[in-house]
Subunit: 145 residues, 2 copies
């Protein structure tokens, strides 16, 4: 019996193939993260804030390698959910983003699900291919200044 997946073919376009794989892997991680009610993208932001807090928007954007103005927008939902807050004094330039207690709990909870997604990917690819993929992805990343 032929499943739908076996019909999938690579495109000739490296970019399209990469974008499809990126969407697929995002879908996998998001699926595992459903119980935590945050996306893999949001989880990543929380993790980075936790590692750098208190941190400015610019510093955080540079570390995540995300456009600063994009990050400004992505932070809003997290603020509304009361997962992060800004401890900077009003009238100062740098924001000082931190996780709230709720944010730290959410991050720790989500980490469990993230681990499951991570394990699934590496199990399906195998140890060796996982490493090869990681190297190739980095090779592509550094092509762009």
């Amino acid at each position: 019996m032929i499943t739908e997946n076996e019909n999938k073919k690579s495109s000739v376009c490296n970019c399209l193939n990469m974008r499809r794989a990126s969407q697929a892997i995002t879908e996998i991680y998001d699926h595992y993260l459903v119980p935590s009610q945050i996306s893999i993208s949001q989880f990543s932001i929380l993790k980075h804030i936790h590692a750098m807090e208190p941190v400015s928007v610019s510093a955080l954007a540079a570390e995540i390698r995300l456009d600063r103005t994009t990050l400004v927008r992505n932070l809003k939902p997290l603020e509304h959910l009361d997962l992060i807050h800004d401890i900077a004094q009003p009238g100062t330039r740098n924001r000082q983003l931190c996780l709230t207690i709720k944010g730290k709990e959410k991050m720790e909870q989500a980490h469990v699900y993230w681990n499951q997604a991570q394990a699934q990917i590496e199990a399906q690819l195998g140890q060796e291919d996982s490493q090869i993929l990681q190297d190739l992805l980095l090779k592509i990343e550094v092509m762009v200044p």
Copy 2:
């Protein structure tokens, strides 16, 4: 001398690594396509329409593997630019999307730049790694139904 790129490191998260690489490669293709005034994403849509015309939104979305409602939105700019048009009779269910003359010209022009991007990627990765990457990306893609 240490350049900025050499400082880039892989994340522990497969998803983040993939998303970064996807953004990087998209940036490369978009950069090459600047003279054509369309994005790689738009180029891809034009190519697929050209191969399938006249085509419905649903059929096109299935082929590109893009959410149908996303495609509805992505088609709008292309219609405004007069690159595509719908030859279906009003009051019928299926749209029949086709390239306009202008759209076909744009596609052919953009194809030249797309080729340059494609060549750069494959030159920098090398023949062998290009194939390995393509296989790994497909392997990830088929993980999702």
